[in-house]
């Protein structure tokens, strides 16, 4: 199954991420965004970071989850290579997410070719039919 597809967008970057489950689609969205900055296939999973997030709806949860990848790059020089143990839950207060982000610390071995500044809600779509499709525009 195709993980994601990068779509044309004049100023920034747009992608669609696919998954049989919402969890899989979220994980693929993180890889799609990483691909705009580095080649995640070339990053070794040398370390693993646990994340826990909450959002008022699925859209906000997605913005916060992807925002975590940018935050970890800026503050810990962390490059994502894969997402594991991703769980999404819903309760009265909204939505929660837990995941294990695997990857490596930025070094001479890696090339960073783009800079995602932030995750936006612009043209965001979370669609469900025969699996999930997430569409995201990020500010570059």
């Amino acid at each position: 199954m195709e993980k994601y597809r990068i779509l044309p967008h004049t100023a920034d970057a747009k992608f669609r991420a696919y998954g049989r489950t919402l969890e899989e689609a979220f994980a693929n969205a993180a890889l799609a965004m990483a691909s705009l900055m580095w080649d995640w296939r070339k990053v070794e999973p040398r370390l693993s970071l646990a994340v826990r997030l909450a959002g008022r709806d699925r859209e906000q949860l997605l913005v916060k989850f992807l925002g975590e990848v940018i935050y970890l790059l800026d503050t810990r020089k962390f490059l994502l290579s894969s997402v594991g143990r991703l769980k999404i839950g819903e309760d009265a207060g909204g939505w929660t997410l837990e995941a294990e982000l695997r990857g490596d610390t930025l070094s001479e071995r890696h090339e960073i070719h783009g800079n995602v500044k932030a995750v936006t809600y612009n043209e965001m779509k979370i669609e469900e039919y025969d699996g999930f499709v997430l569409q995201v525009v990020v500010d570059m």
Binding site: H9, T10, A13, D74, E111
Partner: protein, 473 residues
Amino acid sequence: MELRKINDLTWEIPKQGDMNVPALIYSSAKLLADVKRDVTLDQARNVACLPGIQRMSYVMPDAHQGYGFPIGGVAAFDLDAGVISPGGVGYDINCGVRLLRTDFTEEDVKARRKELLSEIFKDVPAGVGKGGVTKLSRSVLKDILVKGAEWAVENGYGSKEDLERTEEYGRMKDADWASVSDRAMERGIPQLGTLGAGNHFLEIQKVREIFDKEVAGAFGIDAAGQILVMVHCGSRGLGHQVATDYIELMENAFGVKGLPDRELVNAPFRSELGQRYYRTMCAAVNYAFANRQMIAHWVRNVFARVLGSSEGMRQVYDVCHNVAKVEKHLVGGRARDLCIHRKGATRSFGPGRPEIPDVYRSAGQPVIIPGSMGTASYILVGTAEAEELSFGSTAHGAGRVMSRHEALRRFRGEKIRDDLAKQGIELQSTSWKGVAEEASAAYKDVDEVVRVSHEVGIGRLVAKVVPVGVMKG
């Protein structure tokens, strides 16, 4: 959507539906063709629906699609009935441009430009994930958020004269560090004094042509061939995080129902949250001013080292491209304080405005418009008419027409470097892929953008400059 032609360079979306005011677009037939291919005009119309918007939702000649507000959007809101919106400022708060003049000529640097560029590359950190050269403590960062470029000058980066030649004198006084989140601070600490990546760059330029000798002279731009230095960067991860934080806080406080676009989330300007965002945004603006102040200082050091002197390297000006401010403007013949959002637009005040320093008060404010990588940039001057036409605002750059993805598919960074070298332009970057993404063919024609600005009267041509050396983050 109905688009009414007012004249060759002005177009209107008449007030309809939920719009509180019309939208007004300054564009030529050529530029408008690009604008119509994306959702810029829908976004201008959505902005016109926001509460308390005054006069018009304005669109500058370099406009393209943004998120919420268009890039190149200018909107002013009543302080009591109106709003402030993080999407109307953008994620890169106080992304802006600083211009230094020099006493050097093209001949002086010709043989040394490679060395100059590689020394600048060593001294000014750039690229994604690249930390700054200064180890910053949290308490120092707080100082920077409050004082902006003043902090940098107090700590030996540049001179008091630089402050006078910076929008807001390099410090927005309403800044409050206490409402900057820990995450934003954490992102800000390693990145102070870094150029960043993407469309951010540092160029050694030469003056190609002077259009207005008198005003150019007032700005310290004397003759064709004179060397200048332009720095284009912003508030880095700290500013991006502030925008992200306050979009979330406003969503949680006010919800998202009824918004034509979730990125238009906003708060009443006078509300507690509106004020908190405004003051936090001011802190991020200050961080960006300090950032450019430090980078300019290092550039001067490199010139002193390589060419023997940095004397005469005075700052022309430093302008913000993404900001919200309270300014006095005429509405219905009455001077009123309004909250002006400029998202991808430059303030363009004409002679006499009290915000302009004495040295430029009779000429008008210098407006710096960077072109795309390796192409021309322009120096304009603000006009009195601009206040009437666009709340004292004009364009901010070339504006993209092609996606990064498409540019990456079509161009190769190394080839761009070789082509520029043939034209006598040196290029250095942290990433060749990044260079391909920023290929000048992916941008609008900046010559056409400034022509429209000049003819409409929102910013008049002073000088055209071209690069000699380009450092891309």
